[in-house]
Symmetry: D2
Subunit: 357 residues, 4 copies
């Protein structure tokens, strides 16, 4: 029952406008998820992390700040957020599923200029762990510091990227390119599915991943099942994200000249329902500059019929369904309504991108 958030903008945003102030910010989500269906553990109080890129003059690595203090209690987070701006931010609140409470287990993880986070869980991880570990090149095997399935997932992502002929340690000045990152992400999921298959794991895995090299961002909404719904994922894009009314009431403004910023989030940050578009299940979302591209992931778990209703039960039991404060519809319905939502509330351009994918 984690939650994550990605911000990518032409201009930097003050972190507090992103993670502290909005009525349903990720900080609020850390203790007030709207649908606390995961009765085993009703909040995200097991640590958090933010990662952001600074001026390229200060080196291409992101700055990572993690803590095992619950996000709502971390005075340092509140202070830093009010004083830090960035145009590419990852944020994550964590509820322990595997891995002890430890800073080493907090997302986002980073490796040189790359950053990675995960919302979900790798099913029967103990059963496939040895396969995964054995499949890695030494440098990624030795990189893992903590004990989460997600960090091993990152190691696998790096190893897969490496296999594509690039060196994850040394990105070109403009990054690896969004195609390369997307390819590595899809390869990561493919390899995980191979491990599941070899090990006879049939429980679905919830694999909402996000990765970036500081230039492009790639996010998945994915479940290794034909019939179950994935963990929730939304995006919003526009010209300006700003507080239109005091008290944390933020809205996305849109002008016709295209997007200046994109946010991707497990749960919408605001009550403005029209601002948030559901990412279709089993698809990969890419942000190239501020342009959003969505591609379906067409593997054995793909449903070509867009009206097929996946079951919410599994994702809800895992606490992985978040909705916007104004959104009372089940996510599957929301999915079904994607097309009309796009027509009504998001830009025509976005729709075009989705259709093209």
């Amino acid at each position: 029952m984690c939650r994550f958030l990605v911000y990518k903008g032409r201009n930097p945003i003050l972190l507090s406008d992103l993670i502290l102030n909005p009525t349903h910010s990720i900080l609020t989500q850390s203790y007030d998820c709207r649908l606390r269906l995961d009765v085993r553990r009703p909040h995200n109080g097991d640590g958090f992390g933010i990662g952001y890129y600074t001026s390229p003059l200060l080196s291409p690595e992101p700055c990572i700040f993690t803590s095992t203090t619950p996000a709502w209690n971390c005075v340092n987070l509140a202070r830093l957020a009010k004083k830090t701006t960035s145009s590419l931010v990852f944020a994550h609140v964590r509820a322990t599923t595997t891995g002890a409470l430890s800073e080493s287990n907090c997302h986002p993880f980073s490796y040189h200029s790359l950053m990675f986070m995960h919302n979900g869980h790798i099913a029967s991880f103990q059963t496939i762990k040895r396969r995964l570990v054995s499949a890695l090149r030494d440098e990624y095997f030795l990189m893992v510091e903590g004990s989460t399935d997600s960090e091993w997932g990152f190691a696998l992502f790096l190893d897969t990227l490496h296999s594509l002929g690039v060196d994850p340690k040394s990105a070109p000045p403009e990054g690896f390119g969004h195609q390369k990152l997307r390819e590595a992400m899809l390869g990561t999921i493919r390899r995980l599915n191979e491990f599941f298959s070899e090990a006879g794991v049939t429980e679905p895995s919830l694999l909402n991943f996000a990765a970036t090299d500081g230039h492009s961002v790639v996010c998945t909404r994915y479940v290794s099942s034909r019939d179950d719904e994935a963990a929730s994922l939304y995006f919003s894009s526009g010209t300006r994200f700003h507080e239109y009314k005091e008290g944390g009431f933020y809205r996305m403004e849109r002008h016709d000249r295209g997007q200046d910023l994109v946010m991707v989030a497990s749960e919408p940050l605001t009550f403005e329902r029209g601002d948030w578009v559901t990412v279709p299940t089993n698809s990969v979302l890419t942000i190239n500059k501020q342009t959003v591209l969505i591609h379906p992931i067409k593997d054995q778990y793909y449903q070509s019929d867009p009206s097929y209703r996946r079951s919410m039960k599994f994702a809800e039991e895992k606490g992985m369904v978040g909705r916007g404060p104004g959104d009372e519809l089940p996510a599957t319905e929301a999915d079904g309504q994607l097309k009309s939502q796009l027509e009504n509330s998001a830009s025509q351009k976005l729709q075009a991108l989705v259709s093209a994918a």
Copy 2:
């Protein structure tokens, strides 16, 4: 929206049978309060503490273990609870109202052989703080380490006890006696009311306190208002508190030979409704050996009519109403039903004690 728990028994209890295992243990309460009415802060994740007395051979002071890690994440707490037994235990989970997240702000507080905790809040504490500080003898003024209203309340309790002619630093071998402790507790509340009155504070204070010297225990359920309900408080007594069914299903057993153990708690620990008796509002409960005495606190906020219904609104807004898992009645009704509950479910002896008070 804190919660507290007191255990006093003829025999020691394994701490995990008290604070970890019961279905609705104080640990569970730390993240799953049944009625999350305090929307500002829906859990008790701001630290916790336990205090317990050990063999008198090891000195009369209690052992205190506190942490700012949420109780549900503290592996040390879980490990210690499985390996520690005591016949007099205080436990507390905290939600910040005043005072930063800091071990110095975790209850229970201790001073030599005395231990103290608070569930509630002192109204407009900033307004009366200087009066309270000025009223204290130097040793209690200088004793305060943290920044909570509750610790200053403890300092006032010690100062009041001191005024009764005893030295809080050096208890007699059998303690100060339950009358002395009760007198000090009532004096503490009286002095707080005087500060409120002098400073013109009219907002009610929720003053559920618990204090012990390692021998007797005194607890209050009190609100400085004629019309509002106090924070919830329950007690249970019997011969044995044990797990009758695997999975945390605990029950209080009772045999005719009187009580062997008493528990007092902000919220019942079990689904066994008949095991828990509501402590009447504005009364003081004393445990002398394993005998429970309840006295009304007859001051300006006393309601002599037992059928008077105080308003739940204030206490609920403060997140101070906890109920048993099987108990859907508002606390005021529960109060109204005290007599019949006693007749039905608790021992006749208890009823006698309450009537006598």
Copy 3:
């Protein structure tokens, strides 16, 4: 046995060039003070803090980052320092003298745009505490969150500044002015001396304070004694502070056009002895833009004879003497050599300033 460091520059510095990388950085000082004479507690492992001002567009308050994790273990500190630049920085490592280990007890303290830290200790603080507390206006009395003598010293500083006719809450755009800050600092010391005198405290206090409003900085090197030496304090100024040789070898460069940056520190950060000038005992150092002014504090503890040798014993016992890595001379000698050092290594301008004071 704390240590502190002030940086003020025309241009921002990368925090890691200040607090992480130099051979004898404050981080290194946190576990490797050259003269571990305080045998009771041989390091500064009780928390740390940094405070820095950001772009004025982001509000005039400083950003404060504190932690109870020893500085050398705080991965967040290391990560942030590599990604944060500022032209006015305070840094502090702490060894507990009074006050529990708690983030509330970490320096620097802040109040709106003001920041404050202390290296030393207020003698017999328990004896004067009530006097100090009673002397404060309510807003500063109520501001204190922790339990250190130093934070109460800050409250007294604010109260003294308030008495000078300004509102500490709302600084003018260019700050309160260096005269005002200096006057408030001197008033703070005067009032402390009055409390000592009234309470009959004769043990010397070590009062190295630093305060800033984001524009000017004022630091004291002070001891309330005629015969004992104060805690050590040094400064360095020049055109550029840079790593001239890999491995943390930093040096202050100077060109004839005056200073571009000033650092004040309990211990020199580098082996470059000529770069560091000892601040004379019982004087106040002011940084106005990048210009350093030093004034003697002429009260009952002043020694007008510049050749008078104060005893190092007291300050050394308190662990308050830090020296540069290349400096084996006792601090009193170093003091005696101030004039020649100035002639040899620091700019003529600095000497003029000191003489004028």
Copy 4:
């Protein structure tokens, strides 16, 4: 540069008499190692842990308390130590060599009734890690939570014990027996040496391990080198360990009826030089009830000539040489003097045991 301590007694000891009060207790060692030769990291402030067995009525597992707060700052440790007694205690203070600061990385590690700790380091661990990981049965591969070489060493120990035909999860009522534990320990070292050999690692490893099942204890003093000295290790045994003079002056009392307690420690806890016997390099010490047995480890790194002087350089550089406060001799000399020490200060019985080994 860690330190560890083992206590095994016929009677329980109050933990504070072991880890807090002695002049040179492990708590003091955490910040005041006498010979701070490891200039890279001059203290043991990276967390600590204690493990102790309680009444067998409370289950055979040890109680583990670990913290990343430096031992000297952990108020919980001080409070618990004053209130906890045990007749079999492990204590460890840690200086990071590999593995982040995290509770998962604190020793002692435990697995059901078994407990394990390590003082030293496994050389080139990254180089042999994959071999070690691949050699483990799944249950021990999956057990590892942290990122230290030491925890993987424990996993290897469990796997080796398993290979001896016992199930580490379920010890017989009287434990596995000291022979079995010793055999597993020697097997662990042998397998590590095989990994080094296969991987071409020639840097010596410092392998002072301690393991127990709650009944017997086995400790090694070992280095994988013919010419270098191992990390220091001492033991003391007698009838009573008590404070003969206020201020932490403890002494081991001996009466002719044999030992009632044994302590094994990286550094002597007291100034009483005659109380501490150096464990010979490359030997294994077993405590069966309160009887000490010492066997040489006769492998490729064994020196049969007892007068051979190993070089202290390597162990000192690693910060692994601790001596008694009254002991200014290099450890090798102390080793050479083992025989005479035994004749003078330790019981004849002990000498006999060593000779027999």
